[in-house]
Symmetry: C2
Subunit: 415 residues, 2 copies
């Protein structure tokens, strides 16, 4: 890499491509609505494919619609280094979440072609289908099938809110390929992504070196009290499910803090029934989200909450049901790949720090199939899954340069 | 009253009329959907009018659609004793809330006619328009206009969720009268109503003698934090509006208990935004309902909550807005009328206790215009505003007998 350490990708070209892609499936507030397997997703894929073909890449397409744009290496035996993320967006999503990782991969190829640099290992730019999971649950669906987490039949049968099936919609937009999903071997996988959190910006760092992905536990609570009139029910005769929820939320916060600094906990989803100003809530359904990079911590938090919630509900005469509605184990990324990212940031002179990814990413599943690491760049105010999501051109360029150096180091430049 | 103390209304006849009225605007689960100014309300009014005319009563109708069915007294100078409640229901309401008070009044007339009893004062059975307030806000609208709490123009302009105006709908169903609202004088007003709370049943009492109506304060809170990802936002960087709401709900409970036994407090309405499992709530809107029969207590509770909520939000970095969205002063019913109710229960041998009405009732507004009292009977499990609302035939009969004796004592039987 000595001879390569001065190499840079073209940040202007990358930014132009990001802006070009953002024209497809525009949102209503400056962001994007390019949900998976919509016509707009099809148009976004076609543009990516056109750009890849212009660079002489061979496009592969698997039965889950994952796209693999391949630049050959010099060694026919060498497994490819893969790089990528996703082009689909939230319904009111930003222009960079996922897209930066795919077009950053493409920018690597453009730079290599422009400079006529050869690598021993092939380099493959990937667009994973349905990372967002808002149209078809769950998130990271196609990388999950690729990694053997879900079956393809199950994925095909997932329905959107209109009752349309994933498999049918994949076929409809013309991106159901013949290559059996998960059969493609790789040497390593790198994913560049915006942080979707506030840490890098707050710390003034250019680059996040992602060492772990947080494990997740989603437990849905249903508290059952008694609907009754807020005026005519004396305090001692109330079974206020809303108050029970309040006490459990306080406990969630206490438990998460007790595992500082890496554990987090909150409830984002809260539904109160009947939700009328003059009726004491007879039922509240809410989901507690606990995360930690340590599975033992997650299990400890779940156990403490289950015990504490039972005590609260027993004292208040409330019914309590808990259902685990989601979860994944913490991820530890590959040491060699993580070092490649850290070394790239270091050699390029970018400030950097280790990060634990709080959100799920395709890399978290792919890590089960191949050595994997992630690069993160800051995003303004930590805002993501929002049309106002913003990054600077410099952040995008720095992240892509680090991705480039990590990838070409791993793919081995042929001098 | 000595000669009258053995008189009883006809509980079977009353029950049959309740069941007959319940056939109009049936609900989907055994109750009723006869919302104000719908075709079904018109049909309910017509049936009431037919029954009144069969008893020889003269029907008056005011410009707010309030119906006044009058049985003449022997003294042309004497002001009428009025008795009644409302025939409109919640969208998923019960068969007794309101209806018992109107048909209980009619049963008094039927009994007096059957026994050929004359009273010095006329007796007028009233059906107040739009007590429920679910189709056109607020509740107790027409009794409020009658009592001068609201203007008629404002009431006419109230719109339902389809944008239809109260005044137009009143005209459409044919119940906009010519008599100017609020001009009708009265000697006294009595309202029989189901308790809509659990006290009488729990205490094993037949009759509630309502001495006060609780005052109400509705304050709507808007807490503003920051939407952010539940995974990628470290605990110290969160502004969790949901957690702020939880802390304020706990404070509401503490404050209400500090004014035991008569004060109550809770939040029935809670909306969390964006209400997604993986987004820390950036905004929560909820309404705190405080009630007490003592205005000083209500003011103290409001002040303590405002101060405590500010401390909570300041510590958490949350924005706080408070808006008073509803309220009425406590009501003290007329001592003479209340005594008439208590004496009636006593002389009829029914167990009874004083009650503070936690819910609002037409009687709370009419009390501003004339000496007023209320009789309450138990309801099963305190359940109301629910199709499963239930009372026993015996409870209805006992309440109506007490109403009857209170009314005829006040209207003065002419021997």
């Amino acid at each position: 890499m000595n001879s390569a350490s001065n190499l840079r990708t073209n940040g202007e070209r990358l930014w132009q491509s990001l802006m070009e892609m953002a024209k497809i499936g525009p949102g209503i507030a400056g962001g994007n609505n390019r949900q998976t397997l919509t016509d707009e997703d099809g148009q976004g894929r076609a543009l990516f494919q056109k750009w890849c073909e212009a660079e002489g890449l061979a496009m592969g397409l698997d039965t889950m619609g994952n796209m693999f744009a391949r630049r050959e290496g010099t060694d026919p035996e060498a497994l490819p280094v893969m790089v990528g993320s996703h082009l689909d967006t939230q319904p009111t999503g930003g222009k960079y979440d996922g897209v930066l990782g795919v077009l950053g991969g493409l920018e690597i190829i453009r730079t290599l072609n422009e400079l006529n640099i050869k690598t021993k290992h092939p380099i493959v730019v990937v667009n994973w289908t349905n990372e967002e999971g808002t149209r078809f649950a769950p998130a990271m669906l196609a990388s999950g099938v690729f990694a053997g987490v879900h079956t393809q039949d199950w994925a095909y049968a997932q329905e959107d809110s209109q009752g349309k099936k994933f498999g049918d919609e994949l076929e409809r937009i013309g991106y159901k390929g013949d290559e059996p999903v998960g059969t493609r071997k790789m040497h390593a996988f790198f994913e560049l992504h915006i942080e979707q959190g506030p840490i890098l910006e707050a710390e003034g760092k250019d680059i996040g070196v992602v060492t772990h992905g947080q494990g997740l536990s989603w437990v849905q609570f249903t508290l059952t009290g008694k609907d009754s009139h807020t005026g005519s029910t004396p305090m001692p005769m109330r079974k206020n499910a809303g108050l029970g929820m309040a006490r459990i939320l306080e406990l969630v916060d206490e438990i998460a803090w007790s595992h500082a600094p890496n554990a987090v906990g909150a409830a984002g989803h809260i539904d109160v029934f009947p939700n009328s100003r003059n009726v004491i809530p007879g039922k509240v359904v809410f989901t507690v989200d606990f995360r930690s990079p340590d599975i033992a911590v997650i299990e400890d938090m779940e156990a403490k909450l289950a015990k504490g919630a039972k005590t609260i509900c027993d004292l208040m005469g409330l019914g309590l049901e808990m259902e685990k509605v989601g979860g994944f184990d913490p991820v530890e990324f590959d040491e060699t790949c993580v070092s490649a990212v850290r070394n790239a940031a270091e050699s390029l002179g970018y400030s950097h720090q280790n990060l634990i990814s709080g959100a799920g990413h395709d890399a978290c599943w792919v890590n089960r199939s191949a050595p994997t690491a992630m690069v993160m760049c800051p995003c303004v105010d930590g805002l993501s899954h929002n049309e106002a999501e913003e990054i600077s051109k410099e952040w995008a360029a720095a992240g892509t340069d680090v991705l480039f150096h990590a990838v070409v180091t791993t793919a081995e430049i042929v001098e």
